[in-house]
């Protein structure tokens, strides 16, 4: 075992917030160790690369506040889907009167995403450092890593936690049921409080009243890994890659019709086309890309290839970054049939608590299915009108954003596959509608499902 001296030069620099990574301009930050060694980083390898936990760099009573300031100035935004500024969330949690709790969300309920799994597999200590540093910043009494039950990563993380010593805050693993909405922030809190893994109504939001009634910081594990880097190398370093509204790098999961599907780390601001090239390029002629996961938006290809992965650019294109998952649909695939399948899955994943979600999503899924099957003549037009109306009224009316994501996906499909809608409704469905699924959903025995 490599012993880490008490005050390495590295640590002294960290104390000034000026530690430097081996290659400050490398696009590999979270995955640097993996790219260099091809091996998951144990604690010794992690500390050789990044030095010890930089808590000593933020000493004294003002230290935690200073750390929040550093995260705030970095411009780091959440990597779990919503893209909320991490510094602001830390500030809100720290402002509560009671001692907070930190939840590191590694559940990754999104079927199109694999990036949290990869990160936790290859750099668990970066995530744990982030959880500890976030806990230190908000004055939390405990940090809990939330993973899906039966996920082998739970053992990986428990072993990683057992290998650590001297952390200022206790760490533990909690196993959460493997359901799409169970990893929503309020659902995590509800599960830890009562054993019920379903979202709760807001207010109160978890930052106000969460686990055991305490202000609760719920951050995605990738967000916390970036935070661990920001705390060491500073906000200016973080902003060297990415754009003003979306600084830093991001992990992207690329699946579908590319030659090398997988998880990649890219600077935010990289174009969709560049990411697809990184993933080996098109495996066949392409038609569209689903951005942000199954609650995301379709964009047409090749025209959408020039759109850059930033919050602002994607918003301008009618999409959102979400969990930075790209699913690539080939020309020989039916975007409507794929969307209808995913909608049926999302409808089944509703927690069945809120009327607009529990009745609205199956209705939307049924309408889309009717369009795919070519509801003929005037009835087809009526189905389309009804679907349009339903897509208008559901948004924003659930306790969580699950119905909003489903509506976003369905609306974008009608926009991007408008020609196909007319073809299907005129009784000329595309030849690919009956083909095998391109977008796997859990429970599929489809080839190519991960």
């Amino acid at each position: 075992m490599v012993r880490v001296p008490r005050a390495t030069p590295h640590q002294v620099m960290a104390a000034a917030g000026q530690a430097r990574p081996a290659d400050p301009d490398s696009p590999y930050r979270l995955l640097a160790g993996w790219v260099d060694t091809g091996r998951p980083a144990d604690l010794a390898a992690h500390q050789r690369r990044h030095g010890p936990l930089p808590v000593p760099a933020y000493p004294g009573r003002a230290g935690p506040h200073r750390l929040i300031g550093v995260v705030d100035r970095s411009g780091l935004r959440g990597r779990g889907g919503a893209g909320f500024p991490t510094g602001r969330k830390l500030t809100a949690v720290a402002a509560g009167r009671r001692r907070p709790i930190v939840l590191a969300n590694g559940c990754e309920g999104e079927p199109a995403s694999r990036k949290d799994h990869v990160l936790l597999s290859v750099a668990p200590h970066l995530v744990l450092d982030g959880a500890i540093l976030a806990a230190y910043a908000v004055g939390a009494e405990e940090a809990v890593v939330c993973l899906h039950a039966q996920d082998p990563l739970a053992d990986t993380l428990r072993a990683a936690i057992a290998a650590r010593s001297g952390d200022p805050v206790p760490l533990r693993v909690a196993e959460v049921p493997d359901r799409y909405v169970a990893s929503e922030a309020s659902a995590l809190v509800n599960f830890l409080n009562t054993g019920d893994p379903r979202p709760t109504a807001k207010p109160p939001r978890p930052f106000e009243r969460g686990v055991r009634g305490r202000p609760t910081l719920v951050d995605n594990v990738e967000t916390l890994a970036h935070l661990a880097m920001v705390a060491r190398y500073g906000p200016e370093w973080f902003r060297r890659l990415g754009g003003p509204d979306s600084p830093g790098t991001t992990l992207v999961t690329v699946t579908g019709a590319v030659r090398l599907p997988g998880v990649y780390e890219v600077p935010l601001g990289t174009s969709i086309g560049q990411v697809l090239e990184l993933a080996g390029g098109a495996a066949e002629e392409l038609q569209a890309v689903l951005v942000g996961g199954y609650g995301g938006s379709w964009l047409p290809l090749p025209s959408g290839g020039g759109i850059r992965l930033t919050h602002a650019d994607l918003q301008a294109a009618g999409a959102s970054l979400g969990v930075a998952a790209l699913v690539v649909l080939p020309a020989r695939g039916c975007g409507l049939a794929e969307t209808a399948r995913v909608l049926r899955y999302l409808a089944g994943e509703s927690a069945a608590q809120c009327g607009p979600c529990m009745f609205g999503l199956p209705a939307i899924a049924a309408d889309l299915t009717a369009v795919v099957e070519g509801a003929a003549g005037r009835r087809g037009g009526a189905v389309l009108d009804r679907l349009g109306g339903r897509l208008e009224v559901i948004r924003g009316r659930g306790a969580c954003a699950h119905p909003d994501g489903a509506v976003r996906l369905a609306s974008s499909a009608l926009r991007v596959f408008g020609t196909d809608v007319r073809r299907h409704l005129s009784g000329r469905p595309c030849p690919w509608a009956a083909g095998g699924p391109r977008l796997p959903v859990p429970g599929d025995a489809a080839p190519g499902a991960r």
Binding site: T200, A201, Q353, C354, G355, P356, C357, F359, G360, A363, R390, V393, R397, G398, A399
Partner: protein, 77 residues
């Protein structure tokens, strides 16, 4: 605390519904059709705008009539 006047005018009073406790009884839409409609499944669709002062009393009645206490009025004094 220092804005009772605004509350009396109803300027910042807004309706909200807890979507989990709402059971689509529909009384609210009966009592306050000016601000509350129902979707095809019977769940309320609330006006996004503030409750105008002349409807404040009826909004309070609708809140009080909700059998599951899902409807609420915030910002009114």
């Amino acid at each position: 605390m220092s804005r009772p006047a605004a509350g009396r005018r109803g300027g910042d009073a807004r309706l909200g519904v807890n979507p989990i406790t709402c059971r689509a009884h529909g009384l609210c839409a009966e009592l306050l059709p000016e601000l509350i409609g129902l979707d095809e499944w019977g769940y309320p669709i609330l006006a996004a705008s503030p409750v105008p002062p002349q409807l404040l009393e009826m909004a309070r009645d609708a809140v009080a009539a909700c059998p599951t206490l899902a409807l609420r009025l915030s910002g009114a004094r």
